[in-house]
Amino acid sequence: MKAFLRKEWMETVRTGRLLILGIIFFIFGLMNPAIAKLTPWLMETMKDSLAESGMVVGEVTVNAMTSWTQFYKNGLMCVIVIVLMLGGVLVNEYMKGTLVQVVTKGLSRRKIFFSKMITVYGLWTLMYLVYFGVTYGYTAYFWPEDKVEALVFGAFCYWLFGMFLLAFLLLFSAIAGNVGQVLLGVGAVTAVMFFLNYVPKLQKYLPLRLTEGLNLSLGTLKTEDFVPAVIISCISVAACGIIGMAVFDKRNL
């Protein structure tokens, strides 16, 4: 299994996936404080055209909060990018038939699935750390005196949301036959969540709640409001892992 993990890692590096993902997340991380820093200037340039339509721009103040607002807004983009990039992680191997050799050489299917899980979750965690780290570093550099509440927990929630979607990605990878089906499955899960989010009673329990870390920093939501969603996400991640493994055991490679 170690050899298989090493092979996965080498593949990620050799195909340049690691570098490309790293650069993308780095730029995303960079954009948050940069946009915050540029907002006053943008407003300044648009002042005249806004004045014509009757809007008056007053003094614009930006602080660390502006940067973190961007952080939560762009978080969804990060999740989308990682899902698109990793959509083929298992499926492409079915198509090429490379897994058949590994299985006939005696590596158990569970170990294959488990290695893939480690790779996917590991990549997401690494990239999220890059994203968070860059934003954190720049924000702390530009606005050293601003304190933002509950940052780490809010960021952790977003990370867990990514894990939740990736767990479904792996589950659908075990079921589906091509990349399109996997992405469709993950999209469907997201769509259902957005739909259920209209029911006020359910909002508390949906993993979608995890993306609202901003409200935690603003003080409109409390940590307790997140607990049910966190628990449900953890259960789904575990359940997807177990079901995925069971399905993967039976399927044709």
């Binding site: 340049g16 570098l19 490309i20 650069i23 780095f26 404080p33 820093k37 200037w41 550099y141």
Partner: protein, 67 residues
Amino acid sequence: MPDIKTMLPFLIPLIVAELALLGFTLWHILTHKTYKRGNRTLWLIVAIVGMEFIGPILYFILGKEDS
């Protein structure tokens, strides 16, 4: 525009990232003989002319052969 000094902390890492991606793309083009479409000269030109991220991205989407 805020003066260039305040933007430098953003610009320098961006330039580094850009060059890293360009270097990797060039290495990839030069170590592969066949491409999905086009030939080596074409992709070298695209990668270098569009080096502000767009060229390398185009190459990886359209030109890189599946291994």
